[in-house]
């Protein structure tokens, strides 16, 4: 790019830099407060960074039995990973069948799945809680996981993806004597890594960050996810500021890492979700 062009673009860059700075402030605040003492955070003399970073805030966090952060992290990790694996598996299976296996009743099934797509998820949390209580899923990890595994939306996206998959490959496989299952497992699934990564990362992030459903189902501290732990922390009478921010940092760091490493796929996933693919 020539010099003239850069000069022309200067106002644009300045504006972008200003907005970028605003967008980074919350991250800065987590880091700043997580490494300070309570006195430093609440001091009337603003310090941009602590002169003596309090790394001990983090170890204190994991030793505090009143704030079950370790349990929360373990719950969230298990819940997010299991949701991710089973949602991808069941959705790709159903998507493949709906796109490629001719059978009577296929349209009815597809219509049924589309119909559930129309229901706003958060709105049904009261009756879903009732069903889950009936099934004995309250205060269990599977109770938190199960409704998140079945997503009409990702079934729909897998179906669209397999509709565009070249039929030649599939036919060649059939001629070689592969069953429908063989075609799916050996030919389609290995060629679906892009969509699986794209939707998988979004599923993982959504599951880790979910709040309402884990709050409703996980009432006992043993079933709290990271988000519920943080929320409980936030509403407790005696707010321990350094610990609160250390907890926030621990809760958000794995995701920021996943985000940075997987950004390419997340962008793809966002486009899928916005109907741009």
């Amino acid at each position: 790019m020539n010099k003239n062009n850069v000069l022309n673009q200067l106002p644009r860059y300045l504006l972008l830099l200003f907005v970028a700075l605003l967008f980074l402030i919350p991250f800065y605040l987590i880091g700043r407060n997580a490494l300070m003492t309570d006195g430093e955070i609440t001091s009337l003399h603003w310090a941009w960074l602590s002169p003596h970073p309090q790394w001990g805030n983090f170890s204190a966090l994991f030793h505090d039995t009143a704030a079950p952060m370790l349990t929360g992290l373990a719950n969230s990790a298990v819940i997010a990973v299991v949701t991710l694996v089973f949602q991808m598996l069941f959705s790709s299976m159903a998507g493949y069948a709906l796109a490629r296996i001719p059978a009577r009743g296929r349209n009815v099934v597809f219509f049924l799945i589309l119909a559930t797509l129309m229901i706003p998820g958060a709105v049904t949390f009261v009756p879903t809680f009732a069903v889950m209580a009936y099934l004995g899923g309250v205060n269990t990890r599977w109770g938190i996981i199960a409704p998140g595994v079945f997503s009409a939306f990702s079934i729909f996206l897998f179906r669209q993806f397999y509709l565009r998959f070249p039929t030649e490959i599939e036919e060649a496989g059939r001629l070689d004597g592969l069953s429908y299952f063989g075609v799916y497992w050996r030919l389609l699934l290995p060629n679906s890594t892009n969509i699986i990564m794209a939707l998988g990362v979004l599923t993982f992030i959504a599951s880790w960050n979910a709040f309402l459903w884990p709050l409703v189902i996980g009432q006992d501290p043993s079933a709290w996810t990271v988000q519920v732990v943080l929320s409980t922390f936030l509403s407790s009478q005696k707010l321990n500021l350094p610990q609160l921010f250390a907890a926030a940092a621990v809760g958000v760091a794995p995701l920021v890492l996943v985000f940075l490493v997987m950004q390419r796929y997340i962008v793809e996933g966002a486009k899928f979700s916005g109907g741009k693919e």
């Binding site: 296996i101 559930t116 709105v123 009756p127 809680f129 409704p147 299952f181 916005g274």
Partner: protein, 308 residues
């Protein structure tokens, strides 16, 4: 293919089809369809302290809710919230997409910075907004910054009638979701054929606003509609930031009554008061409202499928 073999192939296809869709179908049935039916029956029942429908009372739960001032207030709250957050998110994400799309050097850097808040949960963001960014005491970040310009600290959400609480509630969601919609707009922008712009330049059309108005925005129509729709549906289901910033049903600190959206109200009805009948009825009212608003938007802007 001989007839016998064909019917055998049909049967194996039918078997494979059902084997492949059964897990998903079963799951969606148990965790979506059954709850809808169960919920509807609950909504017609007096279901205090029980998750079982049975004591049927007709539509009394609906009638009670529609005359319940707190519930009506929550509907007003969510309309006001949507009125702020939807246009604002639309404008900011489109603006950022246009800016990022125009620059050459540093594009991926800016894209990452605006998109990365999508990795943060509403709970963590609410925590930062409430305790640090918009803390009402002088050590809150925004109070510190406006203090540099000589302004007095503002009690953002701490007092009984805080003047600026909408700013706190709207900016947190804005920060969290703008990057996601910017990405969708960027994808839309990249699909616009370059030839359209070249033709406009050849015809001597001035660049800037006219190009945006007569080429870019019309070409982005499908994208714009899907952004509006996703955004609107999400806004009507707001829960996390209201619950965590203003305080939930049981939270002793906070200003929950200031702005209580329907989901927070239904949460306290069903989970704190154990009135599952009314809680379920409220869910259906809210769903109807979301459908109505979606249809209205479809009437005004189209559903985005008709062009091209």
């Amino acid at each position: 293919m001989p007839i016998l073999q064909k019917s055998q192939a049909d049967r194996s296809a039918t078997f494979a089809f059902w084997a492949f869709v059964t897990p998903a179908l079963l799951g969606l049935t148990v965790f979506t369809l059954v709850p809808i039916v169960w919920g509807f029956l609950l909504s017609l029942s007096h279901a205090q302290n029980t998750i079982h429908p049975g004591h049927f009372i007709g539509f009394r739960n609906y009638a009670d809710l529609l005359t319940d001032e707190a519930f009506l207030k929550s509907l007003v709250t969510i309309f006001v919230f949507a009125l702020f957050i939807v246009p604002l998110t639309f404008a900011v994400s489109l603006g950022l997409a246009l800016l990022v799309n125009k620059i050459g050097w540093g594009r991926s850097f800016f894209r990452t910075v605006f998109f990365i808040p999508s990795a943060v949960s509403y709970v963590v963001a609410s925590l930062i907004w409430k305790v640090s960014l918009f803390n009402g005491l002088p050590f809150g970040f925004v109070n510190h910054i406006i203090g540099l310009f000589g302004a007095h600290p503002v009690a953002w959400i701490g007092t009984a009638h805080p003047p600026w609480y909408w700013l706190v509630l709207v900016t947190v969601r804005l920060w969290l979701q703008v990057g996601f919609f910017m990405i969708i707009f960027l994808a839309g922008l990249q699909e616009i054929p370059k030839s359209l712009y070249e033709a406009a330049a050849v015809d001597g059309a001035p660049s800037g606003w006219p190009v945006l108005r007569y080429i870019t925005l019309p070409q982005l129509k499908a994208t714009s509609v899907s952004v509006l729709l996703l955004n609107l549906i999400a806004a009507f289901q707001a829960f996390d930031e209201f619950y965590n910033i203003l305080g939930g049903s049981g939270a002793s600190i906070g200003n929950a009554s200031l702005a209580r959206p329907p989901l927070v109200y239904l949460y306290s009805l069903a989970l704190s008061n154990q009135d599952f009948g009314r809680g379920a009825a409220g869910g259906f009212i809210l769903t109807a409202l979301i459908f109505a608003v979606t249809l209205l938007q479809g009437r005004i802007f189209g559903f985005g499928g008709s062009e091209k």
